[in-house]
């Protein structure tokens, strides 16, 4: 009597279900994706229990990195260009269309106005390699030493609905934040948002 051998088959799996799931997840992630902007400085924000979300539109972000350098950006490309034109009028610099276009693509920047023109003339890859020194800021009304105030003013001129968000690094020293604060206060801006990460409130805490 011959030995009955079990019929051997290749170890196969039905991949249909797996494939369905993979593509469902894929479509979910594509729809919810919000791409990380190419920021001029890496900033690690502190966390807070505040659950208010940062709005996506009509927002200007003042970033403060750990060395106390200040970066500035607004959300809409049209408004960025309008802001640059306004700034050009204030400082008596005229920007070419190409420079305006290049400026429109910057989510945020930290160049003093007098170096901005040469920075915008560079190609995007070259721009990335340059270490931006930050926007000069203090509490005075001086055009040169408090350029942040001019940027804020002209950004609001370009878009009056802009809200202000301050994004500071964990390690930024308080005096540099104070400079930003007094620059804003000197224009009578007394309400703004601090961007923070989210952390869970302590157990038993309720918002009222």
């Amino acid at each position: 009597m011959p030995i009955v051998k079990p019929k051997r088959s290749a170890p196969t799996t039905d991949m249909t279900a797996m494939c369905d799931m993979a593509f469902m997840l894929l479509s979910f992630f594509i729809m919810t994706a919000q791409f990380r902007q190419n920021e001029a400085a890496a900033i690690e924000t502190p966390t807070s229990i505040s659950g208010i979300k940062v709005p996506d539109t009509d927002i200007m972000t003042i970033s403060l990195d750990k060395n106390g350098q200040v970066f500035f950006g607004i959300d809409n490309q049209e408004h960025r260009r309008a802001m640059l034109e306004n700034i050009g009028e204030v400082y008596g610099i005229s920007f070419s269309d190409r420079e305006k276009k290049s400026f429109g693509l910057l989510p945020n920047f930290g160049m003093p106005v007098n170096q901005l023109k040469s920075y915008l003339a560079l190609r995007p890859e070259q721009q990335k390699q340059i270490k931006q020194p930050g926007i000069p800021v203090d509490s005075t009304a001086n055009l040169q030493t408090n350029q942040l105030a001019q940027w804020v003013f002209n950004a609001r001129k370009a878009n009056s609905k802009l809200r202000i968000a301050v994004k500071g690094d964990n390690l930024a020293k308080f005096p540099s934040f104070k400079n930003v604060l007094s620059s804003l206060q000197s224009q009578n801006i007394n309400k703004f948002n601090l961007i923070t990460g989210t952390e869970a409130p302590p157990a038993g805490w309720t918002n009222d």
Partner: protein
């Protein structure tokens, strides 16, 4: 590999019948498709910012309008000095020139307890004055403001100038 061969290949021809075309399997090998799917998923997971940042509102008093307010009694005030190395020094219920006891706490639970204790001692009209020193960081300030929200201290002020008495008091903590 992943396709199952369900046979269907025409093997034998039954006695003199019609020669039928060889039936092909309709199974498709899905492996590359799944591979691609997961590759794209990985990309989108890595490229998205999942946790959206939240924001806390900060209102500062108007500098241009001068409203004369009644000075707050030192006995109602807890003053927090944000020092270096993530330490908070505080005095409660006494002004800086009345030889108060300067306590030092860390951020987090210790600080929260200190605020709650001071409030229990001082009572309902308790005011917190936050004085960040030049040695403190932005994070310290956010932590303190957060602590105000957690302990529900509604009356607080952010003051960035130290009086000479206060400077003397915390001078040795800031070295």
């Amino acid at each position: 590999m992943a396709n199952i061969d369900t046979g269907g290949g025409g093997g034998k021809h039954k006695g003199g019948g019609k020669v039928r075309g060889k039936k092909m399997s309709t199974r498709v090998d899905m492996t590359p498709m799944v591979d691609l799917g997961f590759l794209l998923i990985t990309f989108f997971i890595l490229a998205t910012t999942l946790n959206k940042p939240s924001s806390m509102t900060l209102n500062v008093p108007d500098k241009t309008e001068k409203v004369e307010t009644e000075p707050i009694k030192a006995s109602k005030v807890m003053t927090l000095f944000l020092g270096q190395n993530n330490e908070v020094h505080y005095i409660a219920g006494k002004a800086a020139n009345e030889d108060p006891k300067l306590e030092t706490v860390r951020y987090g639970q210790q600080l929260r307890q200190a605020i709650l204790d001071a409030r229990a001692k001082i009572g309902a009209d308790f005011v917190v004055v936050i004085k960040p020193t030049p040695k403190s960081t932005y994070r310290n300030m956010v932590d303190i403001l957060d602590e105000m929200a957690i302990t529900k201290s509604k009356r607080y002020a952010l003051v960035d100038q130290l009086t000479p008495d206060e400077e003397k008091l915390i001078a040795d903590k800031l070295k």
